[in-house]
C-alpha cells in the first residue's frame, strides 16, 4: 500500500498549502492551483498558440489557401509544402491555418453562445421556479433525450447554406441544456442563502440579484463547462462536416478538410493526417485546460 500512503501524504501536503493560501485573494489562489496542474498549463499554452496562428493566418500562411496549381497536385510533405498539397495542388498547411480560423471560431462562439443562453435559462429556471422552471426543464429533458448528431443532421438539412453562423446557431440551439442545468442547480442552492435573502430584503431588483449575486457565484462551473465545450464543438463541427453537412467548401475547416481527405486516403494519406491531428491536439488542449480550471476554480474537488 505504498502508493496509497503516498497519495495520502500528497493530499495532506496540499491541504496544508491550501490553508496557507486562505489569506491570498481568490484569483491568486486559482492561479496558483492552476499552475500546479502541469497538463492544464500545457493545454492552455497550446490553445493560445493555435488561436494565435489562426488569427495571424493571413501573415503566417506561406500561400493563399485558395491558390490552385494543378501541376502540383498530391504533393507529399516537403520543404516548400510542409503538410503537402491537396487534390487541386493547394498548400495544405496554409489551408490548415485558415481552416483553424473557422474551426476555432465555431468552437469559441458556440461555447460562448451556449454559456450565455444556458446561464439565462438556468438562472430563470432556478430563480423563478414554478411554471418557468417546469417548462424550461421539460425542454431540457426533451433535448437531452435524443442524441445530438441526429438533431444536428436534421437541422443542417433544414437550414440552407453552409456557413459558420448556421453551424453555431445549430450548436447553440441544442447545446445550452447542459449549462442551464448546472446553473439552475447552483442558483437553487444560492437562492436561499443569507446574502441573497439580505439583498432581497434591502430591496435589490431581481435583475440585480441575478447579475450581482447569482451569476458570479455560479461562474466557476460555467467557465469550466464553457472551456470543455470549445473542444466539444470543434469535434461536433468535424463530425457534421464528415457527414457532409458542416461548413461547406471552398471555405476550409478542419472538419471538411478531413472529410475530403477521406476520399483520397488511399492516394494521399497525409491529407487525412494533418487536419485530424490538429483537431485532436486542439480538443486535447481545451480538455486539459478545462480540467485544470475545474481543479483550480472548485476547491471542493481539489483536496
Amino acid at each position: 500500500m505504498a502508493t496509497g500512503q503516498m497519495a495520502m501524504d500528497l493530499g495532506r501536503r496540499e491541504r496544508l498549502g491550501e490553508q496557507a493560501a486562505t489569506a491570498e485573494t481568490y484569483a491568486r489562489l486559482v492561479w496558483r492551483r492552476f499552475r500546479r496542474h502541469r497538463l492544464a498549463v500545457i493545454g492552455g499554452s497550446v490553445a493560445v498558440f493555435l488561436s494565435l496562428v489562426a488569427v495571424l493566418a493571413p501573415w503566417l500562411a506561406p500561400y493563399r489557401p485558395e491558390q490552385i496549381s494543378l501541376a502540383d497536385r498530391w504533393g507529399v510533405p516537403s520543404r516548400t509544402h510542409p503538410f503537402g498539397t491537396d487534390e487541386l495542388g493547394r498548400d495544405v498547411i496554409s489551408r490548415a491555418m485558415y481552416a483553424g480560423r473557422i474551426s476555432l471560431s465555431v468552437g469559441y462562439l458556440s461555447a460562448l453562445g451556449v454559456a450565455v443562453v444556458g446561464t439565462v435559462a438556468g438562472v430563470a429556471a432556478g430563480y423563478y421556479g414554478g411554471l418557468t422552471d417546469s417548462v424550461l426543464m421539460r425542454v431540457v429533458d426533451i433535448l437531452l433525450s435524443v442524441p445530438t448528431i441526429p438533431l444536428y443532421l436534421i437541422m443542417a438539412a433544414l437550414l440552407p447554406g453552409g456557413g459558420v453562423a448556421r453551424i453555431i446557431f445549430i450548436f447553440v440551439l441544442f447545446g445550452w441544456t447542459g449549462v442551464s442545468r448546472l446553473v439552475r442547480s447552483q442558483v437553487l442552492s444560492l437562492r436561499q442563502q443569507d446574502f441573497v435573502e439580505a439583498a432581497r430584503a434591502l430591496g435589490a431588483s431581481e435583475l440585480r440579484i441575478m447579475l450581482r449575486h447569482l451569476v458570479p457565484n455560479a461562474m466557476a462551473p460555467i467557465i469550466v463547462a464553457t472551456t470543455l465545450a470549445v473542444g466539444g464543438f470543434i469535434l461536433g463541427e468535424s463530425a457534421l462536416s464528415y457527414l457532409g453537412l458542416g461548413i461547406q467548401p471552398p471555405t476550409p475547416s478542419w472538419g471538411n478538410m478531413l472529410q475530403r481527405a477521406q476520399e483520397y486516403v488511399l492516394n494521399a494519406s497525409w491529407l487525412a493526417l494533418f487536419p485530424g491531428v490538429l483537431i485532436f491536439i486542439t480538443v486535447l488542449s481545451f480538455n486539459f485546460l478545462g480540467d485544470g480550471l475545474r481543479d483550480a476554480l472548485d476547491p471542493r474537488l481539489n483536496v
Partner: protein, 545 residues
C-alpha cells in the same frame, strides 16, 4: 485488447477469401428498396437484370438485343402497323422456353397482367410516359399464349423497342390474387422482397443492410449460367467499397461513385483488378438561368464558355484524355451526335471581347461593371459533398476571375439542390449538375419552351435554363412522333447546332462510367447506360480456368 485483436486476426483470413470460383461477389454503393417493380433505385435494376430476363436489353453497343421476344417488330416487317388517327398496332412474338423460377412457363398472359398492374393509377408506377400512350395489351388467341398485340393511341418512335414501357413481366399466378383483392396493398406484398423471377439467377436470400444472394437457374433458355452464385454486397461508403475491391473481398463493382482516381488506385494496388471505362450518356453541364438580366444575353453565355478551359476540367475529372469534352448534349457514340456544332475553345481574350460587346467595362477592383455600374458577381450552385464538382467550381471561379467575373460558390445537399433549387429554378445564375439520357431519350421536357418550370405550371417541366427558341421547339414537336429513324437523326443533329449556337447550358463533358472487375472474370460487357449497366448479360460471365 491486443490479445483480442490477435485472436480475431487469426480467425480472419479463413473466412476472408473472396467468393471462390463458383461465386461472384459484386459490390454496390446502394441497396435496392425492392425488386421486381416500382423501385426508385438504380441498384434495384442491377439486381433485377440477374433475376429477371429482359424483353430486349441494350447491349454494350447500345442496340437492343431480343431476349424474351423472337424479334423486335418493325414497320418494314409488317408486325408494326399504322392505323387511322395516328393509332398503331404492334404484334410481339414471345420466345418459348422461359419459365418462372417455380417452374411455370412465362406467357403473354403474364405480360398482359403486368400491363394492367402498371396502368392502374393505384400502383406507384414510377414513369407513365410510355404507358399513357398505350390503349391496351391483348392476347388474341388463348390457344397461343406467346403472341400479344399492343395498341398505341398515338405515334411513338420506339413502339418496337419494348412492349409497353415495362421491360419484363411479373408472375400472374403469384400476384393476381392479391392484386385483385386490393390493388392498393400490392406494393406492400412480400413478393418484392423475395421475388420469383425468370432470369438466369434465382433468388436465395436478402440480408438487409448487407447483401443479396442469387443462385444459377439451370433452365434459363439462353444457356445455364456458368457461375453458380452471385452475391450483391452493399457497402455505402465509397472509400470502404474501394478498400474492399483492393483487398479482393469483391470480384466486381457496380454503381459505385468511383472517380477515375479511385479506379486507378484500385488497379495500382491490386494487379488482379482491371478497370473498364465506358462512355455513358451522362451529361455534366452548367445550366444558365436565362431569366437573369446578364445571362439573357447570348454573348455573355458565350463569353463564359470561352473563359472556361473545359479540356482542363475534363482532364481533371478523368486524367489521360479518356473523357471527351462535350459541345452539345449527345455523346459521340449516339447516332444523333453532331461533330460540327459550334465549339467554344478556351480563349480568355475572346471572352473579354464578348463581354465588352455586351456592355461590361472593367471596374477598379479588376471585376467588370455592367451598363448600370453593377458589379459582375455571379453564383454557381451544385450538390454539396461532391468533391469533383467542388473542384470544378474552384477552377471555374479562378478562370472567370481572369475575365473579370466574380463567382460565388453556394452548394446545397443533393436533396435540396436537385429538389427545389434546380427543379424550381432557384439558382440565380448557374447550376452544375448531370443529366442521364438513354439512347431512346427524346428529351422534349428538357428543351421545349413549354417545359420551363414556373409557379403557373406547378413547376412541371425540366427546361431549367428557361430556353426559348422557335426552331428548337418545332424540332421537338416533330421528334415526339417521328417514326423514321433517319429523319430523327437529321433533326437531332440540327437541334444540337441550334443548342450550341444559343448555349442555354454550358456542356462540360460526358462522364465516363467505371467498372472494376477481376481480370479472371470473363464476359463482362458493361453498357454504360443507366439501367442495364453491368449485369445485362450475366449468364455469359465465367471464371477463366
Amino acid at each position: 485488447m491486443l490479445a483480442v485483436l490477435g485472436a480475431a486476426a487469426l480467425a480472419g483470413p479463413a473466412t476472408a477469401a473472396p467468393g471462390g470460383r463458383d461465386t461472384v461477389v459484386i459490390g454496390m454503393a446502394q441497396e435496392p428498396d425492392r425488386l421486381g417493380a416500382f423501385s426508385i433505385m438504380v441498384a434495384a435494376s442491377v439486381v433485377e437484370h440477374a433475376l429477371f430476363a429482359q424483353a430486349a436489353p441494350f447491349t454494350d453497343r447500345w442496340v437492343r438485343m431480343p431476349v424474351m421476344v423472337e424479334k423486335l417488330p418493325s414497320l418494314k416487317d409488317g408486325d408494326w402497323v399504322l392505323l387511322p388517327n395516328n393509332k398503331m398496332k404492334v404484334t410481339w412474338r414471345l420466345r418459348r422456353g422461359f419459365s418462372w423460377h417455380d417452374g411455370r412457363p412465362v406467357t403473354a398472359l403474364d405480360w398482359r397482367f403486368t400491363y394492367g398492374v402498371f396502368r392502374n393509377p393505384q400502383t406507384p408506377q414510377v414513369s407513365r410516359f410510355i404507358l399513357n400512350k398505350v390503349d391496351n395489351v391483348l392476347v388474341p388467341n388463348p390457344a397461343d399464349p406467346y403472341t400479344m398485340i399492343v395498341q398505341w393511341n398515338e405515334l411513338y418512335p420506339f413502339a418496337g423497342s419494348l412492349p409497353f414501357g415495362g421491360s419484363f413481366p411479373l408472375p400472374r399466378h403469384l400476384l393476381e390474387g392479391a392484386y385483385l383483392k386490393d390493388p392498393d396493398r400490392l406494393p406492400a406484398h412480400s413478393y418484392w422482397r423475395a421475388p420469383v423471377g425468370h432470369g438466369p439467377y434465382r433468388f436465395v436470400e436478402w440480408v438487409p443492410g448487407s447483401h443479396i444472394t442469387l443462385e444459377a437457374y439451370d433452365r434459363f433458355p439462353l444457356g445455364a449460367p456458368k457461375i453458380k452464385r452471385v452475391t450483391f454486397r452493399f457497402i455505402l461508403d465509397t472509400t470502404v467499397l474501394q478498400v474492399n475491391q483492393i483487398t479482393g473481398a469483391l470480384d466486381a463493382t457496380e454503381n459505385t461513385g468511383f472517380d477515375c482516381q479511385a479506379a486507378e488506385q484500385i488497379e495500382r494496388r491490386n494487379p488482379q483488378i482491371a478497370v473498364q471505362f465506358r462512355e455513358a450518356m451522362r451529361w455534366e453541364r452548367i445550366d444558365f438561368n436565362l431569366d437573369n438580366e446578364w445571362l439573357r444575353d447570348r454573348r455573355v453565355r458565350q463569353a463564359i464558355a470561352h473563359a472556361i478551359d473545359r479540356a482542363m476540367i475534363a482532364e481533371l475529372s478523368c486524367p489521360g484524355g479518356r473523357q471527351p469534352v462535350a459541345h452539345a448534349w449527345l455523346p459521340p457514340r449516339h447516332p444523333g451526335y453532331n461533330p460540327n456544332v459550334k465549339k467554344y475553345e478556351y480563349d480568355p481574350a475572346r471572352a473579354k471581347a464578348l463581354l465588352a460587346e455586351a456592355g461590361f467595362t472593367p471596374g477598379p477592383d479588376g471585376i467588370l461593371r455592367d451598363r448600370n455600374g453593377k458589379r459582375a458577381e455571379m453564383t454557381i450552385m451544385t450538390t454539396a459533398g461532391n468533391a469533383l464538382r467542388e473542384q470544378i467550381e474552384l477552377i471555374i471561379k479562378d478562370q472567370l476571375k481572369d475575365v473579370g467575373i466574380d463567382l460565388r460558390i453556394d452548394n446545397r445537399p443533393p436533396s435540396v439542390f436537385l429538389g427545389p433549387i434546380v427543379s424550381r429554378r432557384q439558382f440565380p445564375h448557374m447550376a452544375l449538375y448531370l443529366s442521364n439520357f438513354s439512347p431512346e431519350s427524346m428529351p422534349f421536357v428538357r428543351f421545349h419552351s413549354s417545359q420551363i418550370p414556373s409557379a403557373e405550371n406547378n413547376w412541371s417541366g425540366d427546361n431549367r435554363a428557361g430556353w426559348r427558341n422557335g426552331e428548337n421547339d418545332r424540332i421537338w414537336e416533330q421528334l415526339a412522333s417521328e417514326l423514321d429513324e433517319r429523319t430523327r437523326i437529321r433533326l437531332l443533329r440540327r437541334q444540337q447546332e441550334i443548342f450550341a449556337e444559343d448555349l442555354p447550358s454550358l456542356p462540360l463533358y460526358f462522364a465516363l462510367r467505371l467498372t472494376t472487375t477481376h481480370k479472371a472474370l470473363r464476359g463482362i460487357r458493361p453498357t454504360g447506360l443507366v439501367d442495364s449497366y453491368l449485369t445485362w448479360n450475366i449468364w455469359e460471365w465465367r471464371w477463366e480456368q
